[in-house]
Amino acid sequence: MRERGAAGGGRLRRDDRAVSVTVGYVLTLAIGAVLLSGVVIGIGGVVDSQTERVVRGDLAVVGQTTVANLESADRLANASEVDRPDGAAAPNVSIDVDLPTRLAGRPYRIAVDGDAVTLRTDDPEAVTEIPHIASLPVAESSVRGGPIRISYDGDAGRLEVTER
């Protein structure tokens, strides 16, 4: 049995049939993996760059919308104070703006102050600042992106931006 076994092992060692098939199989796998990785990395890069471009574009559009409505509220607030008799009830001016809650799937924040509206996302890190020309003071505030309300506080004489 031993002789027969030793003889069989030697025969197997000398037998190189089907080796090319195995090597070919491994090579195919390796090349396929490299190609697939290339595709994934390449496509992923395109998606990331497009996402950033879309986020920046959307930040600008949403910022302009916010500024337009802020200035609109400013005009209405000024009009509400013209010829208002002393002792009359405080005017009530508010504008509801339906902004998207996410831009390209990313949440964002809106910060408002006396000079500009600033929109910000963390991933990708992008900031857009749109200046406004509201004549009334604007209370500094920072709200989550989404439906907001711009209102006029007649007693304090200033505009306020809040979430709704």
Binding site: V21, L36, A73, L76, A79, V82, R84, N92, D96
Partner: protein
Amino acid sequence: MAAVTDGSPDGDGSRGGGPRKVDSSSDGRRFRDADRGQMLLVAGLVVAVALVALVVLLNASIYSENVATRGIEAADGEALEVRAAAVEGTGALIDGTNRNRLADHGAAVTAVEDGVDGLDAYLARAYAERGGVTRVTTTAASMREGSYVTGALTANGTGGSNATLAADVDRTRGLVVDVDSASLASTNESGATADAFRVEFANDSAATREVYVYESDDDGNVTVAVGENGSAPTVVCSASSTGLVAVDLTGNALGNERCPGLWADSVGTLDGDYDVSIERTDAADGEARLTVLPESGDAVSSEHTATPAVYDAAIDLSYRTAELRFETTVRVAPGEPDA
């Protein structure tokens, strides 16, 4: 892979004509071993998912850019339109009521209240079509009563050439003097105090402001000059006119020309309540009209015709849409100068 066979002589169990069991086992092995193309499948799936993500992203981008080209601000123009329409309508209503010369203040106030109710219904109908809800209201308590004074540019039987239009006046609006340009005295800046027709405003401490109207002896234009405490006046404006010319003292206009500073430089600098009178009426023909708020009470004394009137009214105005709310109170006093 394909090189791995089941060892059957024909290499394909389906053609061997052997028992069905052998064929089935042979097919199953072949499909299990047929793993070529799995890599391609995964790669295709990745590319497909990436393309879908790109399409969604670009669609979002296109939508945003499209939104950016639309009118993105709230329709604040309509709220301002409603305010302007309510103020203009109420002003016309007050003036129309005053011109009707109602018997007493109560009737005048009721007429304005009824008119504002009608205006409210009209505006509500007009803006309901645009998705807006309007409300315009007023109350008798929010109106101030005064006098509507009219009279020809004559002394009206006072014996001289002067007449008081309104005494102890707190506020004046809609003061217009229509003069016949052919009847005006021809003089100049220095001679105006002695020769020209004038509207005089005198307060309790004897300070006066005069508005002279005359024909310039230099160019024949109708000229308006403003003086203080009887001193030599300063020309404010002049215009070439024939026939009847309206000198709008509260509206700062001479005929169709603007006359800036006419009110602010004259009565606007006077303290306290004042009397309004026309003097040297022999130097002009025409008529004057004004609406006044008395310093106290609800009527002024006049040497011309003074009838009960509504001087001003505060209206509560509300305009609402799905995204906008505008509520305020406006005092309506048509033709009242800013100063």
